[in-house]
Amino acid sequence: MAASHQARPQSGPELTAAVPEDRLEVQARLLAADEDAFREIYERYAPQVRALAARITRDRNAAEDVVQEVFARLWERPLSYDPARGPLRAWLGVVAHHRAVDWVRREERHRRAVERPAPPAHDETADIVTARLEALGVRSAAVRLPEPLRTPLLLAYYGSRTYRQVACDLGIPEGTAKTRLRAALRALAAALAEEGITP
C-alpha cells in the first residue's frame, strides 16, 4: 500500500494541547459509549445537577426530569460538550439551568392559562437566594456584587425571569434591565479574574 500523495491539511480537528487531558479523556470515553465512564460521571455530578434544577424549578419531579434529560443528552451527543470551553461540571450546569428555566416558563404559561393564583413576587427571590448563599457561608462573587447589579442577575438566573419580567419586578425600564444584566456579568467576570478563579 502506498502512501497517498494527496495534500494533507496542516492542522487537524484535535482540541489543542492547552485543554486538560482529563477533560479530553472523559469526552473520548463518552464518545466510545463507555458505560462505566457514564456511570462515574453520573455518580459524580448528578447531585449538583439535581440541586441546581431543584433550586430553579422548586419541584422535585421536574428537577428529576431535568437530571435525566441533561445526562441523556450528554450520552447521546457527547460532541455537544466542548472541553475547550470548560470542565464538564460547568457544561452540565449550563444545560441543566436552561432546561430548568424552560420548565418554569412552561409552568408559568400553563398556570396563567388555567387562571391559578400568580406565583410569588419574584423580586423576593433574589433576597432569598442571596440570603441562602450567605447562610451557606459562600463568599461568592455574585453575592458581593452591588445591589443594583446583583438583584437583576439573581432574579434572571435563579428566578428564571426574563429581562422584561426583571424590569417589571423592579420597576425599572427594560433597557436598564438589559444593561444591568450585562454589567453584572462583566463585573462578575472581572471579580473572578481578579480572584484567579476559572470555572
Binding site: S4, R29, A32, S140, A156
Partner: protein, 411 residues
Amino acid sequence: MSGAPRPAPDEHPELCSLLGAWLLNACSAQERIAMAAHVKHCALCAAEMRDLHPAVTSLTSQPQYEDPAPYADLMAYEDAAAYEDHVSYEIPAGYENLASPDDGSHRSQPLSLPLSSASSTHGDITALAFARRPPAPRHLPPHIRPYADQVATLDAVLRDLAAEEWNTQTVEGWTVAQLVAHLAATDSLLAETLDATARGPLDLPGDTVPARTRAFTSWAVDQPPASVHAAWRTQADLLRDTLVREAAPNTPAAEGPYTPGDRLGLADGPRLTLADHATTRAFETWIHTRDLALHTGRRLPPPTARSLTRMSDLGARQLPFAMRHRGTPLGHRVLHVELTGPGGDTWHLTDPENPSSERPPDTHLVVGAMEFCLLTAARRTPAETAAHTRVTGDTALADAALAAAPAFAGP
C-alpha cells in the same frame, strides 16, 4: 469578513445590549434566535461572549455544590412541606427557606427521593440514555477494546451529521458516505478472512482491499445516509464479534503470529497477530473519523488512552519494517523511540535481521504518542512531526525513521 454573512448595519447596537440577558437565558425566543445568529458574524459580541462565559458558568458551579451535603436543596423542599403556612422569608438555621412559599402546588407533591444515595434513580437514568444510544459491550478483551471504542466514536460523529453533510468531500476523493463505506469494505474483508461464514449485510465482490473498497464506495453513491450508516455499523459489530470469537481462550491465535492470508498483509511488513489486526482496524477507523470531523467542522478529542497505547505500540514496532521498505534499513544501528503523553511508552528498535543488537542506541527520539500516530497514518508530514521531535545522537537516522514512518499508510 468577506465570506461571512454581513450583519444588518444597525443590528449591533440593538443586539449587543442583549448579550447579558441572552447568556442568562433571560430573553424571548425570537431574541434568542436573533442573538445566536448575531454572535456568529459579530466579532465584537463573540469576544464579549467569551469574556462573560466564565461568569455564567460560575453561577452554575458555585462552591456550595461541591459540599458534602449535595441534597441540601431537596431537604429544603422536604422541610418546606412542613411550613405550609409559613409566610415570612426569615431564614432559620438551615437551608429551609429556599423554597419560597408559593401557590402550594409544589409542596403538595410528596418528596419521596431517598436522600442518602443517587443510585435509586440510577437505573432510570441509564435507561433513558441507553435507549437513545446503546452502550458498547462492557467486557471485551483489551486488544479489541480500541476497535470498539473507535466504532462507537465514529457512530457518535455520524449521528451528529445532518443528511446533507454525508455528501461532504473528505479524503481520497470520497464523500463522507463513501469514506464510511470504505471502512465497511475493509472490515468485511477481515471478518471473512477470519471466519468464512462471517458474511456482512452487503454481499459485494472484491478479494483485496482496493477491489472491495471500489465495490462498497460505488454502492454508497446513491444510498441514503441511514443505509450506509446502518450497513457500516452492522458490519463493524460483526467484525468485533468475530474478533472476540477468534480471541476465545481455546483458539490459539489470540496473541501469537497470525497471518490471515496475503490479501490483508503489508508488503515487507511484519507478520501481524490477531491483536495487531484488531489494532489496525481501530487505527483506521479513528483516522477516518478524524478526516470526517476535519471536513465537517467538528473537533474531536484524541482517542481513548487505551486505544492510543495499542496504536502507538503497533506503529513503533512496525518502524524497522517501514525503514526496510523505504530502503533505509536500520542495519546494525539501534533506535530508541520514546513516545510521550497518553498512550506513550519507550521502544528499543533494531532491524528485523539483527534482532539481538546489544549496542547502546545510536539515536534517541522523543515525540508525542498522538503526533507519532498521525505521522504513521500520513496525517502529518515528516517535516511537521520533526518540528515536535527531540533528537539526541545520530540525527540522520532520526530523519530516516520519521521519513519512513508513514510507509504503510494506505487510503
